[in-house]
Amino acid sequence: MSITAFIVISIIKSVIVLGILLTAVAYSVWLERKVSARIQNRWGPTRVGPFGLLQPLADGVKFILKEELTEPHVYRPLFIAAPNSSLVFAITSISVIPFGNWVDLGPWGTYLQITDLNIGLLVVLGITSMGVYGVALAGWSSNNKYSLLGGLRASAQMISYEVSLGLSLVGVLIITGSLSLRDIVDAQRHLHWNIFLQPVAFFIYLISAYAETNRTPFDLPEAESELVAGYHTEYSAMKFAMFFMSEYANMVTVACLATLLFFGGWLGPVFGPPILQMILPVLWFCLKVFFFMFLYVWVRWTLPRFRYDQLMAFGWKVLLPLAVANIVVTALIVAWRA
Amino acid sequence: MIPLSYYLLLSGILFACGVLGFLIKRNIITIFMSIELMLNGVNLSFVAFAAQWHALSGQVFVFFVMVVAAAEAAVGLAIIIAVYRTRETLNVDRVNLLKL
């Protein structure tokens, strides 16, 4: 494929994926409001459009038109840069997530993935590590003791659970033998899904990911009753919307990774004419990701919050030894079979 | 295809900036960051020479440098916190009780 065709196809893929991701982020807010409302025995958004489906549009317009409170006591450069960097890192990790197989569009063909790096999983972990800066710098630059405490707590929590997140994925890597996300999904053909081979790793990954994205039951840094609003106390309108969007984009990334690594990605029954064979894998992928987003919301509105010392003790004293034990057992079994 | 000396030059510039920061800065955290900058310059040299001599050991050795840098950063920051608790300052010129 020539270089111009490669560049044009990559740009088209990036634009499409980015558009779908931002729409998914907006509608995950809708999902959260609807599901939380039904769990709490009420309706949720029903007025704006059928089933409240245009509510994200109304929210977007609100965020754009709202007045931005400009405080004189904040450290301006970091105050503006923190939510932007948080959003940028949250959105960037979608660039290595594969959605489906090879598709042929006329004379050209491409994988349904923006780029297939052979260290794709490490790139996602690296971007997750860099996402801590948005939270820490937001808390510090707000020049406010509640924000500083919330920012410190949030960043300490995030770097603690990154360790067990990474270690829980090593079991999957030992079985697969490659860091490329496409290879990991290809190794799960014929219902050899990694959820059956690595159930403990799946639960460690899910718990660590909930803590990493600062969602209940690990959302003490942004708990309303504890710290006003934690690290985004001083933020209003568009910057607050950026934090909001980056949280939901991180949730989407975690859901995508969970399906790719443990539930077989886009693998599922495929039949019919070629056009259907190209679309069905993407459909299975979206269904599985939707299930994980639903699980996120379900857990949030069911479980109470951890206290901060319980949270840190759980991460270091329970999840980390469990993840290491999982690696040891997996390595022993793989070495015994070889 | 660029000469290897360009990579070594970049590595040398980073190392020189690290040395300069170590000498002229007075805040102890910034001095620590200059040490990390020096270590990064050395890492770039390792990887550049690994590319030239086709020896993967150069890239493996970068891991050991990173691990040592991480351990040193952890212990060093703990010492800084302990010093701050007793002397209430982060300026190295003020931590001079043992001076003649």
Binding site: - | L10, G21, K25, I29
Partner: protein, 190 residues
């Protein structure tokens, strides 16, 4: 050509970040410049083909060690630096000295008769190849570094904890009633 453009792009960010680290007076700005240096160094490693090293550079260096620095700066609330007599002397002597040394080294490096070139992506640092080296040839240093990290963790925890938390590990900080008693009798300060 593309190789040179990419090298200059990442190299300029590296050098600019390094000089900004020296020029800024507030440590948080220096920390952010250092993060920019580390991220662009990861780009340089990718140009040399060391993909695994680049990923680990971002995860460990830019994503963990620098977070430690930023958290410490936030915690200790380090303000802007002050100029003392020692720092003025160091600037007067140090800057010309290091600049002269750097120019000498640059001259020696750039004016060699045989300039060996490296192509883009010179040595492919495959994770499996690096792992094979790490666990066969470099096994002893690998195990020693894990012990080193354990010692560093223990040392950092001991050094950064409060003295009374070690002396009386079950009474770390007094509750509200005890604090009121301590304040009333003037015993809350050393």
């Amino acid at each position: 050509m593309l190789h040179l453009i990419l090298f200059l792009f990442f190299g300029t960010i590296c050098v600019a970040g390094a000089i900004n680290l020296l020029a800024q007076s507030h440590p948080i700005n220096s920390a952010l410049s250092l993060i920019a240096v580390m991220a662009s160094l990861a780009g340089e490693y990718l140009l040399l083909g060391a993909e695994f090293v680049a990923a680990v550079q971002v995860i460990v260096y830019a994503g963990a060690i620098m977070v430690l620095f930023v958290i410490t700066i936030m915690l200790l609330n380090a303000g802007k630096e002050e100029r003392t007599k020692g720092s003025r002397i160091a600037i007067l002597i140090g800057v010309p000295g290091v600049v002269i040394g750097g120019v000498l080294v640059a001259w020696t490096l750039l004016h060699r008769p045989d300039m060996q070139t490296v192509p883009i992506g010179a040595l492919k640092g495959d994770p499996s190849a690096i792992a094979r080296l790490l666990f066969h040839q470099f096994l002893l240093p690998f195990e020693v570094t894990s012990v080193l990290i354990l010692i560093a963790i223990m040392g950092a925890v001991v050094l950064a904890s409060r003295p009374e938390a070690i002396a009386r590990p079950h009474h770390s900080t007094p509750g509200p009633q005890e604090t009121r008693k301590l304040v009333a009798t003037g015993k809350d300060r050393r």
